[in-house]
């Protein structure tokens, strides 16, 4: 594994061709509980997609489907042109090695050094168990150090991971993901455990890396403002359903501020429509339409009120 492959930079943020992630009719049941309900969305090469929604809306579950950590109950997941349901064992591991994953809690091994942690990102390539620094070889160690320089932590290479701050640990985790030479980066609430300053640092880093290497990023967040300023596309999730899928460049500031409200209204709308179709009489329809408008207004007012 020499140098990061150079890909043509995307002309605009939203790219139509070359879909790297395709999800259709994805449903996931945990016992009785429907975590994902007919989810569908796509992401193009080089696109920054944010999954937005409250905790429990299914963001993490969706992300974990994208590298086969979860198996769908029904529906299709296609990543980098491969149907995930057809992959098992080594073919699944080969795909996973092309997809970097960044966790909310960083998930570094606390007692190992920063450099050792970064090197674990190349385990899929080296094959077989490795302990310590020297099992990975000099070339790979140099690559790991270069990635550490990219995330600005070269000086801490030989420190134990648990002596670092949260923001630094997340940057180490990013370097570990880079070690995989990934084509897609998945990030599950990467800044939820960080202070605002470190959050900005980490999010900017992910964006810079993604832009320079042409990576697709799918990142779950719950901060609306951060998502708006950062993403190319926002996919809104609620109760396991996609309730919003828009390019951020097409969003006005006003629209953006009301995203959580709109997410709610959208659900309410669909629920009311279902009821309306059931009671398909003109009188009912009128009354329901009125209720619908009132409900939407109340929700907006409730959001704006302190």
């Amino acid at each position: 594994m020499g140098h990061p492959q150079s890909l043509p930079l995307p002309a605009t943020a939203g790219i139509e061709r070359d879909r790297t992630v395709k999800v259709a009719f994805l449903t996931k049941l945990f016992g009785e509980n429907k975590a994902l309900d007919g989810v569908g969305f796509e992401a193009g090469r080089g696109e920054l997609v944010v999954l937005l929604g409250r905790s429990g809306s299914g963001k993490s579950t969706l992300l974990r489907h994208l590298n086969g950590l979860e198996v769908p109950t029904s529906g299709q997941v296609q990543v980098l042109g491969e149907d995930l349901s057809s992959l098992t064992g080594s073919s699944l591991r080969r795909l996973r090695s092309r997809v970097g994953f960044i966790f909310q809690q960083f998930e570094l091994v606390p007692s190992l050094t920063v450099l050792e942690n970064v090197l674990t990102g190349s385990l899929a390539v080296v094959r077989g168990p490795r302990l310590g620094l020297f099992g990975y070889g000099k070339a790979r160690r140099l690559t790991a150090l270069e990635h550490l320089e990219t995330v600005g932590l070269l000086q801490l290479a030989y420190q134990r991971a648990d002596t670092l701050s949260g923001g630094q640990q997340q940057r180490v985790a990013i370097a570990r993901a880079l070690m995989q030479e990934p084509e897609i980066l998945l990030a599950d609430e990467p800044v939820a455990s960080l202070d605002p300053e470190s959050s900005d640092q980490v999010m900017n880093l992910i964006r810079d890396i993604a832009r320079s290497k042409g990576l697709t990023v799918v990142c779950s967040l719950h901060q609306v403002d951060l998502a708006l300023s950062w993403a190319d596309r926002i996919v809104g999730l609620r109760h396991g359903k996609v309730v919003l899928n828009t390019l951020t460049e097409n969003m006005t500031r006003e629209e953006a501020m009301g995203i959580y409200g709109q997410v709610e209204v959208a659900t309410i709308t669909s629920e009311f429509q279902a009821i309306a179709e059931e009671l398909d009489t003109p009188g009912h329809r009128e009354r329901i339409a009125r209720d619908l408008a009132t409900a939407a207004a109340t929700t907006r007012a409730g959001r704006k009120a302190p």
Binding site: L69, L108, S111, L123, A157, R176
Partner: protein, 572 residues
């Protein structure tokens, strides 16, 4: 409830209206069992007849004995050093063998790494079985299979220790943070890589600590292996006693005694440094650790030196921490190589011994009591259990006092705490067998010596557990009682002790479990009970009897272990 209590009314009404305390039937039966066991223990203590006047009487015995023996003699220094190195090396090799063997067993037994439920049961079965069969019995078997030398001892220690090490290791694996492992899976790592890179670095400190701890236990146990022919200090001591050379025998006993205490002190300091407990105490060990563990200002400087480029960073800087690690690493490797060299292992035996297995296995089956009567054997087994029970009871009394005084939140001052902690470490280092041998001189052959030896050595273990769990109790209630003006003793009785009593029950049963095994072993040196018959049968080549006795011990140990598990569950 409060409202009812506040309204003035007839006292009878309040008492009648108070909610009845609910106790589960299981708890009631467990409590009754506990009381029954206590009564039996006291009865056993009375039957064994440890009385002060008798002790004084025996003191005269001892005096006469020492006059006749004419003091203690030691073997020549060179021989002594060689034997000491051989004993330590043999034990270390055995413990290392167990450490390696226990890794796969632990992986199978831990719920988060096992390939399946059947594998898990298999792993646990191996653990329980290896723990239950005494190492002396394993040594008897291996002496028959291998040529004489260190190998039978290494194998006996190695296999017997798998039980404890794999259990502790499996517990540690079950407690790891699953996150790093998930990260490696998400990056496309295999199951082996998940374990080696994600789990092993997390559990390694506790694994090393367990292995060191086990090594101490094995060193103490190696004495008894000498009685069945395993080379080292133990065998020389047993020869000396057999040849009625009591002064030389006592000399060996004193050397082993000192060696065990020394090892205990060394390994408990290494463990505490490695597990990262901040050495805050005023004890000698803590002071030493602080003195040598301190980071120098130079090192902080070294960490701040920057790398200009990734290529420059390829060379890891020699910080003091790295230097220390390398020195430790090289030292350990040298110690291991030294152990293997001095043990002079006959590697060929590993190939040839398979041929001897069938012929030897036949000798051990079927189990039989031979010329012994059933009554005699059951009586001897009961005597062993009685010794264990009585010793556990005595230990409990002693440990509550010393253990509590060693706890930071109970001890009246730092000096008493440090002194108590030091006493506990020293007691932990004492090999029961040696203490029993010395006590036999005073009390004569029989149950008293065994009981006293177990009771004294038990304080080292139970006292430490009590001290640690006392320090772990919630300090809130203690502060609350202190604030009401309670005395130290009242705070202890009202807040510290009630919070610690549940773990006390668990720890005491653990001790009882250990004592049943240890009491068997003490019989071999004349401490009374079934061990005497075990040694006789082994030396008389009546291997069917050995099997029968081992089965009896196994059944007892399993019953005690089951009881202990039940008690820990009920009184959690």
């Amino acid at each position: 409830m409060t409202a009812t209590a506040l309204t003035p009314g007839p006292v009878r009404g309040i008492a009648a209206g108070a909610p009845k305390r609910k106790i589960s039937p299981e708890r009631i039966s467990a409590s009754i069992t506990l009381v029954v066991i206590l009564v039996i223990a006291i009865q056993a203590l009375v039957a064994i007849d440890i009385s002060i006047p008798k002790m004084f009487e025996s003191m005269d015995n001892a005096e006469r004995f020492f006059i006749r023996v004419g003091g203690v003699t030691f073997p020549p220094l060179g021989e002594l050093l060689y034997l000491t190195a051989l004993t330590v090396g043999l034990v270390l090799c055995g413990t290392l063998l167990a450490a390696v063997l226990s890794v796969p067993v632990a992986i199978l037994s831990a719920s988060n790494t096992t390939p399946g439920p059947a594998w898990r049961w298999a792993g646990r079965f191996v653990g329980v079985l290896t723990r239950a069969v005494p190492d002396v019995v394993l040594a008897m078997v291996f002496v028959l299979m291998f040529s004489l030398g260190a190998l039978p001892g290494i194998m006996a220690i190695g296999i017997h220790s798998v039980g404890m090490i794999s259990k502790m290791f499996a517990d540690a694996i079950e407690q790891v943070d699953e996150g790093p492992r998930l990260a490696i899976r998400a990056a496309g790592g295999t199951k082996t890589q998940e374990f080696v890179s994600g789990i092993f670095p997390q559990v390694m400190p506790s694994w090393v600590a367990t292995v060191l701890h086990r090594n101490d236990i094995n060193l103490r146990g190696s004495v008894i292996l000498g009685y069945v022919g395993i080379i080292g200090l133990g065998r020389e001591m047993s020869y000396a006693f057999k040849a009625m050379d009591y002064s030389l025998g006592m000399g060996y006993a004193i050397v082993i005694f000192a060696l065990c205490v020394l090892m205990e002190v060394v390994s408990s300091s290494v463990r505490s440094v490695m597990l990262g407990h901040a050495p805050t105490g005023r004890g000698m060990g803590d002071r030493l650790v602080r003195r040598f563990g301190k980071k120098s200002p130079r090192e902080t400087m070294a960490n701040a030196v920057g790398f200009a480029s990734p290529a420059q960073a390829l060379v890891r800087p020699w910080t003091n921490a790295r230097r220390r690690n390398v020195v430790w690493g090289i030292t350990s490797v040298l110690v291991v190589i030294g152990s293997v060299v001095i043990s002079d292992i006959q590697w060929r035996d590993f190939i040839t011994f398979w041929g001897k297995v069938p012929a030897i296995a036949v000798q051990f089956w079927p189990p039989t009591f031979g010329s012994y009567e059933y009554g005699t054997m059951l009586d001897a087994m009961w005597k062993t259990i009685a010794i264990a029970l009585a010793a556990t009871f005595l230990t409990l009394l002693g440990s509550v006092v010393i253990g509590s005084l060693a706890a930071r939140n109970v001890a009246p001052n730092g000096f008493i705490r440090s002194a108590s902690r030091f006493i506990l470490v020293v007691i932990r280092g004492i090999p029961e067998v040696i203490l029993a041998i010395m006590l036999i001189v005073v009390t004569g052959l029989g149950g008293q010596a065994g009981t006293l030896a177990l009771a004294i050595c038990g304080v080292g273990l139970l006292g430490k557990l009590i001290a640690d769990s006392s320090e772990e109790v919630n300090p809130g209630p203690e502060r609350a009682l202190t604030a009401t003006g309670a005395t130290r003793l009242q705070v202890f009785a009202g807040a510290t002790f009630p919070q610690g009593v549940q773990s006390l029950i668990g720890h005491t049963f653990y001790l009882l479990d250990t004592n049943v095994r240890a009491a068997t072993i003490l019989g071999i040196v004349g401490g009374g009970g079934i061990g005497y018959y075990l040694l006789n049968a082994g030396q008389g080549s009546k291997y069917g009897v050995v099997t029968a006795i081992v089965l009896m011990i196994l059944a007892t140990v399993l019953v005690v272990e089951g009881l202990a598990m039940w008690m820990r569950r009920v009184f959690r």
